[in-house]
């Protein structure tokens, strides 16, 4: 029976023991772990059992044309331990076409809207998500605007409305 709130290093060691060698780094006292996309769901469940019970955020980075990047998308899970105030960053890298990963809504209900936002803005599909609709953009929007290959001024969507003149109203 492991300690209910083991140290971050011990948790990382347990992750390595279970999922094989992982890339880890420490920045200003906070640990980051890179996981394979297929392992993230199980790994996050293990981390939740080991005390990282708060999912602070799910977000994404598009590494298109980023110097030295090997993958297109970096999915980031920010976890926190509400007892010891430790934090842990979990990353998983995804690629085109069809970047997708298992949803963590079964683990944290709060991931629902976070994953919807990532789907909306980056087009990462979350398999098993109960309601994967757009969150911030209008429902009829087709693009994923935070991708780096999406033009800042859009593809004409913002001009695509009926014009109401004095005669119509």
């Amino acid at each position: 029976m492991p300690h209910p709130c083991p140290a971050v290093d011990d948790v990382v060691a347990e992750l390595v023991a279970r999922f094989g060698p992982l890339e880890t780094s420490v920045f200003r006292g906070q640990t980051r772990v890179e996981l394979r996309p297929a392992d993230t769901s199980d790994a996050l469940r293990l981390l939740k059992d080991r005390g990282f019970d708060l999912l602070v955020d799910v977000t994404c980075v598009d590494y298109l044309e980023y110097k030295g990047a090997k993958h297109r998308y970096g999915l980031v899970y920010l976890l926190a331990n509400t007892v010891t105030n430790q934090r842990l960053t979990v990353r998983a890298y995804l690629d085109d076409p069809d970047p997708s990963i298992r949803s963590v809504v079964p683990l944290w209900e709060g991931a629902n809207w976070l994953e919807r936002e990532v789907w909306d803005l980056f087009g990462i599909r979350f398999e098993g998500h109960p309601d994967l609709r757009r969150l911030v953009m209008p429902e009829e929007f087709t693009a994923h605007p935070l991708r780096k290959d999406y033009p800042l001024q859009g593809r004409g969507e913002r001009h695509n409305f009926p014009v109401i003149t004095r005669d119509h109203s």
Partner: protein, 209 residues
């Protein structure tokens, strides 16, 4: 009123003659009821305009109503995103005639610094606007000036039947010069996706005989 022997009109001192149009406009301009469509920092200045220091009540326009059906002046204060625009248009259509619109601030008028995919680049692309207030955000004095100018406009152009809004008649001569071939109200010229769909639809229909 009395008519004397030389068929000259004599009016008592407290009576004066005007046109019905001018009387209606005079009533309307002095009792504008604003609809505050406040989405950003301009909304704060809009509230300040209504508050005691600047006191919009001096110009008869202090009765902010949050139902468009009770308003005749829409003040769009702040940026309008593309998800909000259908709401804005619907609120505008729910307001009763005669109605006017003030575009307050740089964002509402032009999109301001937010030249991005999500922000509408000026509400006048999609709804009619009577007055533009420059500024980021404009001071309450500027908004009051715009309301005074709008009052002038109402007094000068207003008619009791709202003929000044009959832009169809006014625009007809201009439109005659440009033949509109597409019945679509959506502007497809800047949307490649829509253009592709239109081309596909035209192909499916076949050449016109």
């Amino acid at each position: 009123m009395a008519v004397n022997g030389s068929s000259k009109l004599e009016l008592p001192e407290n009576v004066f003659v005007s046109k019905l149009d001018e009387l209606a406009s005079w009533c309307r301009k002095n009792s504008l009821w604003p609809m505050p469509f406040a989405t950003a920092c301009c909304g704060i200045e809009l509230m300040a305009t209504g508050a005691s220091k600047h006191d919009l009540a001096r110009f008869g326009a202090e009765v902010f109503r949050f139902s468009p059906r009770q308003c005749d002046l829409m003040i769009v204060a702040g940026r309008v995103v593309m998800k909000m625009l259908p709401v804005l248009q619907r609120i505008w259509q729910q307001m009763h005639e005669p109605k006017w619109c003030i575009s307050m601030g740089a964002c509402a008028s032009t999109g301001g610094v937010f030249d991005t995919y999500a922000v509408v680049q000026g509400i006048d692309r999609f709804i009619p606007v009577d007055m533009y207030v420059p500024g980021c955000p404009p001071r309450p004095e500027q908004l009051i000036q715009a309301i005074i100018d709008l009052q002038d406009k109402i007094q000068r152009e207003g008619t009791i039947t709202g003929r000044e809004f009959d832009t169809a008649g006014r625009q007809a001569r201009k439109r005659a010069l440009v033949e509109i071939t597409s019945p679509l109200s959506i502007d497809a010229s800047r949307n490649p996706v829509l253009q592709r769909e239109l081309a596909a639809a035209a192909e499916a229909i076949g050449p016109r005989t």
